[in-house]
Amino acid sequence: MTQVVSREQRCGLLADAEPDELRALADECLADGGDVRVLVGPEVGFVTAQIREPVAAERFLLGDVLTCRAEVELDGHRGWAMRLGDDRAAVLAAAVLDAEAEAGRPHAEAVHRLCAHVAGRRADRDDAEWAELAPTVVEFEELT
């Protein structure tokens, strides 16, 4: 399995994973009774979406996006996760998986596989989405 994902990419992919996938894998990670502590949350809050608009290159605050985040320590390695929505169990699980991968613990490879799986699913969804959208493109006669 290729390991080119950065920590940021991994966090991004875990944020996109399904809650059930995260919880199942996190439970496996924790099954060995590793030393785990919850440092932050999991708490529900919001991230304020800051936009740099294109007309004057000026920043403004569009509004807030409901998010949740968690941070854990697993065998001395810190794991952090944030995702949209308010599924606190999912974000805590993601933080555990982040720590698992950071610590290089036994399930680190499984975490990478999950990330790859999420990435693949995202590509599939993009394909499916475009398959539905493409027919709605207005096709003009070629102008020469």
């Binding site: 966090c11 944020a15 996109d16 800051q50 294109p54 004057a56 509004g63 409901l66 709605t136 003009f140």
Partner: protein, 369 residues
């Protein structure tokens, strides 16, 4: 201490609440689960997300269900919910050029960079009321053939950039990069930074914003200025925050927005008539009406905001919670103020009776040369 204030009021309130719950939650109809509301009332959900200023479909849907479909009441529920939550971060500045489009129309150009993508729209469908007697027949299998696509098809270049290439736009680009105003912490009042006006419009009530836009064109203080829609899009933008351990940006998810660019022909004495001005609109969810009104009002505010009432109207009268709340408060008891008003009217009358003739209140003032 014999006096207890808690007399009839509380019981009546509890009974009213109870009546709502029974009639709404236990109505003789199937329960509407959240996913049904987000799937079947997509645009209502999106509208609530925008007006509440909180992007989360399920929360909006729950609010709509609790509010029995009243979008303003639903926005109130979501905003009050937001007041209880902490701000976890402010995102890295989002570049709207990163938008993956689901729909994109450029009315001012036949063949712009990238596609004219109709997407999911009923714009071209006759408005005929369908009255199905039951659920539709099973859906035909969608065409899932993988189609080639270019980067430009999913992330088309914006029309504004084309105008820039043609040197047809007044350049407003700032180099000083001021901190954006947070209107949830600092009330937006005129004179305000543009960032405050944009933020106010982004969470304004859709109807109020559209009405204000229309007033700016046809109202007594309006100006029938040339309105051209440069571009409108619906799509997804990435939300990135700084990773607390590495300090690098992390994309924690994507949120849907509607974006619009309004092109305005300049005709003022001190304006550059050889170029266009461009206004910007962006709001949560799929709400083209709001984004287009916002883009037009952005230019109108730059041009006429300070010389007329527009800026004050925009900042102080378009928030649905403000206007709706003030209206709702009229239902509260007002007998103290009313009694005070009646007293003055009686005093005026008593004074008139005591005086020699009836006093002419508010002299009309005859016209004279």
């Amino acid at each position: 201490m014999g006096y207890s204030g808690a007399r009839g009021g509380l019981e009546a309130i509890l009974a009213a609440e109870d009546l709502v719950r029974r009639a709404r939650d236990h109505a003789a109809a199937p329960w509407a689960p959240t996913e049904q509301i987000t799937a079947r009332f997509r645009l209502a959900v999106d509208r609530v997300m925008g007006e509440a200023g909180l992007h989360h479909e399920d929360t909006s849907a729950a609010a709509l269900r609790q509010a029995e479909g009243d979008p303003l009441e639903a926005s109130h529920l979501v905003r009050a919910h937001r007041s209880r939550l902490p701000r976890l971060a402010v995102s890295e500045p989002v570049d709207p050029d990163e938008m993956v489009v689901l729909r994109r129309i450029v009315p001012a150009f036949r063949e712009p960079d990238g596609p004219q993508l109709l997407g999911r729209t009923t714009d071209y469908t006759g408005r005929l009321l369908e009255q199905p007697s039951g659920p539709p027949a099973p859906a035909p299998k969608p065409d899932t053939e993988v189609r080639e696509r270019t980067e430009e098809q999913r992330r088309p270049g914006r029309f504004l950039d084309l105008l820039r290439k043609l040197d047809l736009v007044v350049d407003h680009r700032r180099v000083d990069d001021p901190e954006p105003v947070d209107i949830t912490r600092t009330p937006a009042r005129p004179p305000a930074e543009r960032s405050a006006a944009l933020a106010s419009m982004a969470r304004a009530e859709t109807g109020a914003l559209v009405a204000l836009w229309y007033r700016s064109i046809l109202g007594p203080d309006g100006d029938i200025h040339e309105v051209t829609l440069g571009e409108v899009r619906h799509g997804r933008l990435p939300l990135r925050v700084r990773h607390p351990h590495t300090g690098n940006p992390v994309c924690v998810g994507r949120f849907r927005v509607t974006e619009a660019e309004a092109i305005e022909d300049l005709d003022g004495a001190d304006e550059d008539r050889s170029r266009f001005d461009v206004g910007y609109g962006l709001c949560f969810g799929h709400n083209e009406r709001k984004a287009i009104a916002m883009a037009n009002l952005d230019v109108a505010n730059r041009r006429f905001g300070r010389t007329g009432p527009l800026e004050q109207l925009l900042l102080l009268t378009t928030d649905g919670l403000d206007s709706g709340g003030f209206l709702e408060h009229l239902k509260l008891p007002h007998y103290v103020t009313f009694r005070s008003m009646v007293e003055r009217k009686q005093a005026m009358r008593a004074a008139a009776e005591a005086a020699e003739g009836p006093r002419v209140a508010e002299p009309a003032g005859q016209e004279c040369r």
